[in-house]
Symmetry: C2
Subunit: 281 residues, 2 copies
């Protein structure tokens, strides 16, 4: 089977590595020449081809590029595929891309997915084969994809040892705003805030420990990947951020009043996150 | 040397384990009977004694208890020590405790410290011997402690392989609000926010990945430890949280306007956190 992976970064590269056992020929496509060369050198892909040639040759096309590029490119990819080619994207927003192809004659060849996997690093050199193992992946609008397309994509996720869940695209975007998008924003903004203080207090980071590191880790994430996600999911993120900022204001008021009893009560509620994290850490 | 450790939880227990090589007899003190029994069972301490007996017997007394208890207990401990006994606390706020003993006749026997080490877990079973290694520790108001007291505490931190830095108590509290206290608050509040959504959306956490886990990890932290820290450092935390909330509001406005160029610019600034984290992760 020929698999074309468009975008050989952390996600595309890790997927390429993981699909080696799928008895496949992996074709890489990347507009960045340096990435293409690196992907070949790191043996992530068998060959690099231009987009159109890769799509023509492939049985399965994966888009692993920023969500703005994916939304633009998906209709073009669908224009160029063969009748039995399956196309999937891996983006962190689903409503915009699904809408962009809802009336495309080859809509049924496309499967909208989002593997909940990643790190704060990017580019081909960040790729590793265990990235997807035991993680969750989401398939949206399953009913709009042909059975042969869903079957192939499910087979791929099973090979990656992922847990598949199904939902509508707008439901995905609403929920992911809370459990992924705002945690990236809280991290970016924590980074910006403390870096701002550092201008006057050069040594402040000598005092930072592992707790700070954990909370701010996502501030290392790629702006090129995240800016279009925030743009496409602006409405849901805004609602989630309002809830977060309101809770933060309430917590600040409690601290200002030195209402230790209430602070303790809220933190005990927050401790319930242990139940959740035991499943994903 | 007899070392009394008051509070045999994560910090006190880890310290006890680490000081085994210090040719010491470790005396544990804990108002929680279950913790005392567990500390003996886990072999963290050589014996458990009541506070006054332990203090009388010790050459070095370490307070590893919540900062409200430490502030109350430190004057009592200093009332009961011998002339050459050294006392140190390990709390995450320093101004309150230093003020509480600034006029105590034995002030010079006391060293105000804060090892920047910890995890989101607590209690004797959370203790481990490598907790302090290669981490930073802070000594405040060095000039108010006797040389013999500073020397012993420095010797201890050197044995723990910690990097010692010195500052004033109010400076410590102002800075630590940014690099520790507000990251705990952003985590607690993220936990509260998403747990609030879960009431209506039972399956939302199926979609949470390692990024969310990292950002929300500190929400597992002990309310008994953190509530008094927030109380004692309320003023500095409030200023730091204002800066954070302002930055968050600005970021939200940028997302609302879908000003992707500006979002990208801010995230690129935040990426500079890589420089910082390379030293502490």
């Amino acid at each position: 089977m020929n698999i074309a992976i468009i975008g050989i970064g952390l996600i595309g590269g890790s997927l390429a590595l993981s699909l080696r056992g799928f008895e496949t020929h992996i074709i890489g496509v990347d507009i960045n020449k340096k990435n293409s060369e690196e992907a070949l050198k790191l043996n992530l892909v068998d060959e690099i081809l231009p987009l159109e040639q890769a799509v023509k040759k492939a049985n399965l096309v994966i888009l692993a590029i920023p969500v703005d590029s994916a939304r633009k490119l998906l209709p073009i990819v669908l224009d160029n595929i063969n009748e039995n080619t399956v196309v999937a994207d891996m983006g962190s927003t689903k409503d915009g891309i699904c809408s962009a192809v809802s009336n495309h004659p080859s809509r049924k060849n496309y499967v909208a997915t989002h593997p909940i996997a990643g790190t704060e690093n990017s580019g081909p050199s960040a790729a590793f084969s265990g990235l997807f193992k035991n993680k969750t992946t989401i398939i949206c609008e399953k009913e709009k994809s042909a059975d042969f397309a869903i079957n192939l994509v499910e087979k791929m996720f099973n090979l990656l040892e992922m847990n598949i869940i199904y939902m509508q695209a707008n439901e995905h975007d609403r929920h992911i705003a809370y459990v992924s998008h705002i945690s990236h924003i809280t991290s970016f903004v924590l980074g910006i805030t403390v870096l701002g203080i550092e201008k006057d207090e050069k040594k402040i980071f000598n005092m930072a420990g592992s707790g700070f590191a954990s909370t701010v880790r996502l501030a290392k994430s790629s702006p090129d990947m995240w800016a279009p996600i925030f743009e496409q999911n602006a409405e849901n993120i805004s609602v989630a951020l309002d809830a977060y900022i309101n809770n933060l204001q309430s917590f600040k008021n409690i601290i200002n009043k030195q209402d230790t009893k209430q602070a303790r009560k809220l933190m005990k509620q927050a401790n319930d996150i242990r139940r959740i994290l035991s499943g994903i850490e």
